[in-house]
């Protein structure tokens, strides 16, 4: 187990190094530098600059130093906890990131608190009797919800719940401070899609376990149905969904972009979107590091859960 963790963290550092280097290389073109200048000074401003002034501007921003030395400086700064400054927002990236991550963490926690019990329960109920009426209803609904793109769900939910019924606000900018009501629409948009997905996976796993020979053994031992499900089927059936749930963390990180931008929720996803549009390299770099960390750690958690739940792997590893 310790070896696995060390290995995964090593991998994480390696991926972080490679992706940040790649990003640096991409942003190290004249084109990008000029784009940054345009974003900051305006198209007209840049056009009026002569070559020397432009060089001077680059000098001031530290953008014309050699690529490697800038990268090494950046790595050194990151090691010390300094993620640089956002050109667009003109504030320390760490401050911005902390604020935005916190917002997204609120969204994500609410998401997981609702998603996990709902999808596991529905999945297990559907898989208990494969092909039964309950299974058919749940499966059809799950297929439908996972078939609708999130942007469509977002529009539909806004039209019905906000514009139509007026239950919740249409946008989640939270200008007047934090509001749970404003969280409802982004949360629902994410839940509707992902619950369908996890339900289908749980159902498949449960259905497979229910047809396993050891379930027959348990039934023919004379155990009651509930005892068979709770005592024998559940742990085996939940191994796969549980590992999957941790991977949803990674899924969530990319899908919050659509949802947060649509509902104007100022979280990590929206920050990423704006930084990408603006070419705010320091923010993008920091966001990449966070994304890689989330991806690797969620996989690590997924592996650890698998090992803990499955004695066969535990013995071998």
């Amino acid at each position: 187990m310790a070896r696995l963790i060390a290995k995964r963290l090593g991998q994480m550092l390696l991926i972080m190094g490679v992706t940040s280097l790649l990003l640096f290389a991409i942003f190290d073109t004249d084109q990008f530098r000029r784009q940054i200048a345009v974003s900051e000074l305006g198209g007209f401003g840049v056009a009026t600059l002569n070559a020397a002034d432009y060089e001077g501007w680059l000098e001031k921003k530290g953008l014309n130093e050699p690529f490697l030395s800038r990268y090494v400086t950046w790595v050194g700064d990151v090691m010390q906890g300094d993620l640089g400054r956002s050109i667009e927002k003109n504030m320390a990236v760490s401050t911005l990131l902390a604020d935005r991550l916190q917002r997204t963490a609120i969204l994500a926690s609410c998401f997981f608190v609702l998603m996990v019990p709902i999808s596991l329960t529905l999945g297990v109920l559907a898989g208990m009797r494969e092909g039964g009426r309950l299974d058919r209803v749940i499966s059809i609904v799950a297929v439908v919800t996972t078939s609708i793109p999130q942007i469509a769900t977002a529009v539909l939910l806004t039209v019905f719940l906000s514009l139509g019924l007026g239950w919740v606000p249409a946008k989640s900018a939270m200008v007047g401070g934090f509001s749970f009501r404003e969280l409802v629409l982004p949360l629902l948009t994410l839940l509707i899609y992902d619950i369908g997905y996890v339900v289908r996976m749980t159902r498949a796993s449960m259905a497979e376990v229910m047809s396993a020979n050891y379930i027959r053994t348990a039934v023919l031992k004379g155990l009651a149905g509930s005892h068979v499900i709770m005592g024998h089927a559940l742990r085996n059936a939940l191994i796969v969904p549980f590992t999957l749930i941790f991977l949803q963390l990674n899924w969530l990180l990319s899908h919050v972009v659509v949802v947060e931008v649509f509902f104007q929720y100022s979280g990590f996803g929206r920050m990423l979107y704006e930084a990408a549009m603006f070419g705010d390299i320091a923010v993008l770099q920091a966001a990449t590091l966070v994304a890689v960390a989330v991806a690797v750690i969620s996989q690590l958690l997924s592996d650890i859960t698998y090992i803990l739940l499955n004695p066969r792997v535990g013995a071998a590893g």
Binding site: N213, R216, T217, V219, G222, H232, N236, N310, R312
Partner: protein, 691 residues
């Protein structure tokens, strides 16, 4: 439900389990398909009843119907299942639960799959008692530990704390048996309990099952495809065919006086010791099992029966007819058939002459890290010879085949095929001639054909690959010839694998292997996935083609009966080493290697005229990654000499021509060994004279 029982209640003790006109159907898209039709069974307390038949005959369905566990699409469509006089089919779910596991318990085919992989053994055992007898966990565990000793599992504490995957297959099956016995049931249902196990492990389990019925007085319904096992374990048997019982009676009587053509066909297709490929070959049952949706009128076996009489056998359903007070058969012509005549269709063959050496293996070893998969193998195979490589799983026989075929490379030693060195030559570097002269028939015909291409295309592809200069017409002609050779209709060329039965697929596998006229064909367990009657047909076919073409056949198998029947010479392997090799006659007669002796004693033989000397070996094969330094069999050998066998690799002692036994035992001890298989001579004589 209102059908009357067919036989009047018998006097004396009342049966513990009775099936009366039991019918089971499965719901499919094509409608209700009958799986079991009008099945009757009377099981007395303490009696063991065998249920025999090939796959699809409904024997497992009966066991599951008794437990009322038929899955979502199974339906009991008629009849009664009486347990101690109570009809199980009318019980409420709660009442049924009290019967399951407590009064009737079941033992399954695959022990590993039958145990919950994420639950410790102790808990899986204890819950039988906590549920049925209301015991608390601690005392249930105590009882479970005691039961483990009775199924001869040492170290109960460790086993109770273990997960299933930490135990061997034999141990797992003993756990399943212990679990079934815990609540002291009156009836045990055994569904192929040893089919997934190795022969020597199987022998231990069979022994245990026999002792259980004696010790606990449990009645048993033993479902198996293996007539030899039924003979060793049961007092009565019922033979099933296509959902019907066709013959039933005391085991001894049915074995000696077969009264149904199907049962007779089954016996003729089993390689018992008196069968011989030259003088008394196997006789196969022609045709195929009818599909359950399309059973013939009258006798279901009619279309395949050599005694079929139109108008009589196909007019109406055939009832069971009494042969004696205890023996019945579902045949209209019991009285007319000469049951002692040799089965029709037996073709005797000439002995083949064995030619020059084709394949020479010398000091071959293969190691994977610490695992010694093959260790110092030396043997040869000659032209037109069938050389059997025999051993249980993990003995290294398949590793050898992989090296020979170039799928793996040897660590040291040599394999020479007609002078060409192959031990470290991967198949990708072999030239076409070598690849063509060395072909393989695989174990599982279901996985080795490409499902998306026609059979003819797949055979033609082999022909093209071998680079023989042939026009498309010539290739097509050759494909048809090959289909003729494996006795399949020519129009099969246009079929896809899913339209073929298992035996037909294996025939295609054989046609493919022999397409390039190879010098050596390796057949890795070619019939073990097939049914008994199909096995015989495929075995005979393989032999015919091999003899006609003068091919060297390396027959890799765990099945000593088949090996004795078809091979000229035998190599016995254990844990990567050769224990004994020699001509087939020498291997099956003393002197034996102690492992060969144990192996021979373990194989069940479906012939009541034969008695076997009992050999007890304990334990299971040690892990190949940590074998004993000396003789690999020393950990289980009843003759092991202390301080010698486990330390020093035994020398090969030579007895007669090419017969070598790797053993430390003194020559005199080996020579003084008694035969394992003893034929009751008088009866056996009568048998062969008829042939």
């Amino acid at each position: 439900m209102d059908t009357h029982p067919p036989q009047a209640a018998t006097a004396g003790p009342s049966p513990i389990l009775e099936c009366r006109n039991l019918s089971v159907s499965y719901e499919t898209r094509a409608g209700l398909v009958p799986a079991v039709v009008d099945f009757n069974l009377t099981l007395m307390p303490g009696e063991a009843h065998g249920l025999v038949g090939e796959s699809g005959c409904g024997k497992s369905t009966i066991a599951l119907a008794i437990m009322r566990y038929l899955g979502r699409n199974g339906r009991i469509t008629g009849g009664q299942v009486l347990f101690d006089g109570r009809d199980l089919l009318t019980l409420s779910p709660a009442e049924l639960r009290r019967v399951r596991g407590a009064d009737i318990a079941m033992i399954y085919q695959e022990p590993m799959a039958s145990l919950n992989p994420t639950m410790r053994i102790g808990r899986q055992l204890a819950e039988v008692l906590t549920v049925h007898q209301g015991l608390d966990r601690a005392s249930a565990l105590d009882r479970a530990a005691a039961m483990l000793e009775r199924v001869r599992l040492a170290d109960a504490g460790r086993i109770l704390a273990a997960y299933p995957h930490q135990l061997s297959g034999g141990q797992q099956q003993r756990i399943v048996i212990a679990m079934a016995l815990l609540a002291n049931p009156k009836v045990l249902l055994l569904d192929e309990p040893t089919t997934a196990l190795d022969v020597t492990v199987e022998a231990g389990i069979v022994d245990l099952i026999r002792d259980i019925s004696a010790e606990f007085g449990t009645a048993m319904l033993y479902v198996s495809h293996n007539l030899g096992l039924i003979l060793e374990t049961c007092q009565r048997l019922t033979v099933m065919y296509s959902g019907e019982a066709v013959e039933t009676g005391p085991v001894d009587e049915v074995f000696r006086q077969v009264r149904h053509p199907y049962t007779r066909g089954l016996f003729a297709s089993i390689p018992v010791p008196s069968a011989d490929k030259a003088s008394r070959p196997l006789v196969t049952i022609p045709g195929q099992l009818p599909s359950p949706t399309n059973r013939p009128r009258g006798c279901y076996f009619g279309p395949r029966c050599t005694f079929f009489e139109p108008g009589r056998c196909d007019d109406a359903a055939v009832p069971m007819a009494q042969v004696s007070r205890t023996h019945a058969s579902r045949c209209r012509r019991i009285a007319e058939i000469d049951w002692d005549a040799p089965p029709a269709g037996a073709v005797t063959r000439e002995e083949t002459t064995i030619g020059r050496t084709v394949l020479q293996v010398e000091g071959l070893s293969k190691r994977y890290h610490t695992v010694r998969a093959n260790e110092d193998l030396t043997f040869e195979a000659r032209e037109a010879e069938t050389l059997a490589i025999v051993g249980e799983s993990g003995c290294g026989k398949s590793t050898f085949a992989r090296i020979l075929m170039g799928l793996d490379q040897a660590t040291s030693g040599s394999i020479s095929l007609m002078g060409e060195e192959l031990a470290r030559l991967p198949v990708t570097k072999r030239d076409r001639v070598t690849i063509r002269s060395l072909q393989m028939v695989f174990q599982n015909p279901f996985d080795t054909l490409n499902p998306s291409q026609t059979v003819g295309f797949q055979i033609a592809r082999v022909l093209r690959r071998f680079g023989a200069r042939m026009s498309e017409t010539q290739i097509r002609e050759r494909v048809l010839e090959l289909l003729d050779m494996v006795k399949l209709p020519r129009d099969f060329a246009g079929r896809r694998p899913r339209q073929l039965s298992g035996g037909q697929k294996q025939r295609i596998g054989i046609a493919r292997a022999f397409a390039g006229d190879p010098a050596v064909v390796v057949a890795d367990e070619p019939v073990s996935a097939l049914d008994v009657s199909v096995q015989a047909a495929v075995t005979e076919l393989l032999m015919d083609i091999q003899r006609r073409n003068g091919t060297t056949l390396l027959f890799i198998s765990h099945d000593l009966s088949v090996v004795r029947y078809l091979s000229d010479r035998v190599v016995v392997m254990y844990l990567g080493r050769i224990m004994e090799q020699g001509r087939t006659g020498d291997i099956f007669a003393p002197p034996y290697h102690p492992y060969t002796e144990a192996l021979l004693a373990a194989v069940p033989i479906a012939d009541p005229t034969i008695t076997k000397r009992k050999v007890v070996i304990s334990g299971e094969m040690p892990s190949p990654s940590n074998p004993p330094a000396g003789c690999p069999f020393s950990t289980r050998c009843p003759y092991a000499i202390e301080d010698l066998c486990e330390r020093t690799v035994p020398p090969a002692q030579i007895f007669g021509e090419g017969h070598a036994i790797a053993c430390h035992l003194p020559r005199e001890t080996l020579l003084a060994m008694e035969p394992i298989i003893i034929a009751a001579d008088s009866l056996n004589e009568a048998h062969t004279h008829h042939a």
